[in-house]
């Protein structure tokens, strides 16, 4: 008998004569206290994100590339990790080409092993899309893809995330339900709520522990 068989046999033996507890899932408790009027939804998301040092800006589909450029310029960052294979990556590239910004766009186009050193030490900022947001907790939903791999939203000190206002849901339950998470999860799914932080030294909150030191969320109001 394997360890698995032995453990399962013990557990089964302990359950003899018992009946499984019924599933009386109370979705109302996870949704009703966390509902927001359409006008308040984005405000809630912003206030929750800003309470944990996330920066948010309201912008539009047409204007966000300029906002991103301004944010990078304000921080003296001359290089941005962004996918050339996404619609937003292409829009940004076109905007950069047409402007005099001189921003260098870098693609995550090879396995991480091939460029770890550069990713970890010479990549100051990244820009990715998101799959939506959650108003209740001020969270972004990211499902990393081959175009926008996992480490894009983790390693660079500044992470700029694009969030379509129409894809912000009130709470996690509604989002999971609407996006049919249970029918198939990606290799990695993430909720991101602010920049990296820790309170491990005498309960004193400090930002920029191991992940991004800054998170800038550009909210596209007309998308």
């Amino acid at each position: 008998m394997s360890a698995k068989d032995r453990i399962l046999a013990k557990l089964r033996g302990s359950l003899v004569g018992t009946t499984p507890v019924a599933d009386d899932y109370d979705a109302g408790l996870l949704t009703e206290p966390w509902r927001y009027a359409a006008d308040d939804r984005i405000a809630r998301l912003r206030s929750m994100l800003e309470a944990v040092h996330g920066e948010t800006q309201l912008t539009t589909q047409a204007d966000w590339p300029q906002r991103a450029l301004e944010a990078l310029a304000a921080r003296n960052i001359g290089e941005l990790l962004v996918s050339p294979d996404t619609a937003h990556g292409q829009q940004l590239a076109a905007h950069v080409a047409a402007s005099a910004a001189g921003l260098r766009l870098k693609a995550y186009d090879q396995p991480v092993e091939a460029w770890k050193e550069e990713l970890f030490f010479r990549t100051p900022a990244s820009l990715t899309g998101t799959l939506g947001g959650i108003a209740a907790t001020g969270s972004l939903v990211l499902w990393p893809t081959p175009q926008e791999p996992r480490l894009m939203s983790l390693v660079p000190p500044l992470h700029i995330a694009l969030l379509k206002a129409s894809e912000v849901r009130d709470n996690l339950y509604e989002l999971m339900h609407a996006q049919h998470w249970a029918s198939g999860m990606p290799t990695n799914a993430l909720l991101v709520s602010g920049p990296s932080k820790t309170a491990d030294i005498q309960q004193t909150l400090a930002y920029g522990a191991h992940g991004p030191k800054e998170l800038l969320v550009l909210i596209l109001e007309d998308a």
């Binding site: 360890a3 698995k4 032995r6 453990i7 399962l8 013990k10 557990l11 033996g13 302990s14 018992t18 009946t19 499984p20 507890v21 599933d23 899932y25 408790l29 996870l30 995550y108 186009d109 396995p111 991480v112 092993e113 770890k116 050193e117 970890f120 209740a136 001020g138 969270s139 990393p144 081959p146 791999p149 480490l151 983790l154 996690l172 339950y173 999971m176 998470w181 249970a182 999860m185 990606p186 290799t187 990695n188 799914a189 993430l190 909720l191 991101v192 709520s193 990296s196 932080k197 820790t198 309170a199 491990d200 030294i201 005498q202 309960q203 004193t204 400090a206 522990a209 191991h210 992940g211």
Partner: protein
């Protein structure tokens, strides 16, 4: 520097450890401040008492449901993870679990392991086990990193370095990392970040724990704030997750109430910075993530707790730490005094199953039974009732009933059992009771002034000249 370093960190030395901790004013200040902070943070997160109570009941039902079909859910988890490409291993003991991890390490000729925070790996003493075999294990959670630099164990399951203040961390970094002394917490965290950053991509293997394992989708869910958990599970080519067999939940949606209860109860956060859901290794077209993901499912005494309907509730635990944050005993003696991986109230009810009631026999009695732990527990584990039950099991007469628990009856004393038997007889027989109280009051001068532990800190009780019954009869004129 640390008054407790010469104390063996074993639960059998609990009383001595506790005495020493109580005499350490620095330690007590650090814990008092930290616990007040965490209790406050939690309170703010639950402004609506009704919502809190309904959510606790919900969390309890979700956990109870998972446990009520645990074997089936574990098999589903195994099948779904395997389908997703995750290799699932089962271990009955920590020795087996360590051997599994070591085998994976050897297969990859790995020399360096980076770890996210994992209490099960502490339970396994994985760092020590791998260290003895020439493999470096580096902790990457800031608190764990600090504790590892001090060659200590975590003193809290959520905030490992909670027993230290900023000055102690500043001195530590100055001594061990050869940096300028600074008490600027932002600077100290940046020092930690810089020190650990290179290690994330030099490591051959990343190790993490698991907060919830979802049977339905084959998903491992991890919560954290720092990003070290994501680093440890994403950057190294191999990821090994270690977890207890009780961490499984049935459906993906079941994590929603538990996640809310966990982060709000633990650190008073609506949500942690990262919720990391891992369902498989890197796919062919993906550019990062580990090429191999392993899950080690560890029993280590959990099936013993599971065997008893009442004690099974111990396994509801979602490891939030709220019970210790609200415990008057933990607050005063800190986490190290328990000498166990899991300190505080939850440690007192879970550790006897892992180590046996013989070496942990003093833990269930280290409680004032104030009930705070049970009141704050987000999944409604009746901790005080379980403490009382373990006290009973510890003094159970040899084989009066078949012993299912390791170390059961280890506190049994024939003399004590006989005294209680006599006490019962005395109080159920009126004639005997009258004779006893008559003798007690008339012979009060014979009362010894030294009656063992009672008189260590108190004066001996002095029986009155006449018993209450006699006084009452006299008062009513019934003499």
């Amino acid at each position: 520097m640390n008054a407790m370093t010469d104390v063996p960190a074993v639960p059998i030395a609990f009383k001595r450890n506790a005495r020493e901790a109580l005499a350490d004013p620095q330690l007590r200040r650090n814990f008092r401040g930290a616990m007040d902070f965490l209790m406050d943070k939690r309170r703010v997160q639950f402004p609506d008492g009704d919502e809190l109570e309904r959510l606790r009941a919900f969390g309890n039902r979700v956990r109870a449901r998972a446990l009520s079909k645990l074997p089936e859910l574990l098999e589903r988890l195994d099948a779904n993870l395997s389908r997703n490409g995750v290799k699932v291993h089962w271990a009955e003991t920590v020795e087996e679990a360590n051997a599994i991890v070591h085998r994976i390490v050897e297969q990859h000729a790995a020399k360096k392991v980076i770890k996210g925070k994992s209490m099960v790996s502490e339970e396994m003493e994985m760092n020590h086990y791998l260290g003895e075999r020439g493999v470096d294990c580096l902790e990457s959670d800031m608190g764990e990193f600090i504790v590892q630099l001090r060659e200590e164990k975590p003193s809290h399951i959520i905030m490992p370095a909670i027993h230290l203040n900023v000055g102690q961390v500043a001195s530590l970094f100055h001594d061990k990392l050869e940096v300028d002394y600074t008490e600027d917490v932002d600077r100290l965290i940046q020092i930690g970040r810089e020190t650990l950053r290179r290690n994330f991509f030099e490591a051959d293997i990343g190790v993490s724990g698991v907060n919830f394992a979802v049977a339905e989708t084959g998903t491992l869910l991890l919560v954290e704030n720092e990003g070290n958990g994501r680093m440890s599970t994403t950057v190294p080519p191999v990821h090994i997750a270690v977890t207890g067999i009780e961490k499984v939940v049935e459906n993906l949606r079941d994590v929603i109430p538990l996640l809310s209860l966990l982060t709000r109860s633990a650190t008073g956060q609506a949500i942690t910075t990262y919720v990391n859901m891992i369902s498989g290794p890197r796919k062919a077209d993906e550019l990062d993530g580990p090429q191999e993901v392993h899950l080690v499912l560890l029993d280590n005494g959990r099936s013993q707790a599971f065997a008893d309907g009442e004690l099974r509730q111990t396994l509801n635990c979602i490891r939030c730490g709220a019970c210790m944050n609200h415990c008057p005993v933990y607050t005063r003696i800190g986490g190290h005094a328990y000498g166990t991986v899991y300190p505080g109230p939850i440690g007192k009810i879970v550790t006897p199953h892992m180590l046996g009631l013989d070496t942990t026999r003093d833990l269930p009695t280290a409680s004032s039974m104030c009930g705070a732990c049970g009141e704050v527990c987000p999944v409604k584990i009746p901790i005080p009732a379980l403490l009382r039950r373990l006290r009973e099991e510890a003094v159970r007469a040899p084989e009066a009933v078949p012993h299912h628990m390791r170390g059961q009856g280890s506190k049994y004393s024939k003399k004590e059992a006989m005294l209680w038997k006599a006490w019962r007889k005395l109080n159920t027989s009126p004639a005997l009771y009258r004779a006893f109280s008559f003798a007690g009051t008339r012979l009060s001068a014979l009362m010894p002034s030294n009656i063992g532990p009672w008189t260590e800190h108190r004066s001996a009780p002095k029986p009155a000249a006449r018993s209450l019954h006699e006084l009452a009869r006299e008062h009513l004129g019934e003499d």
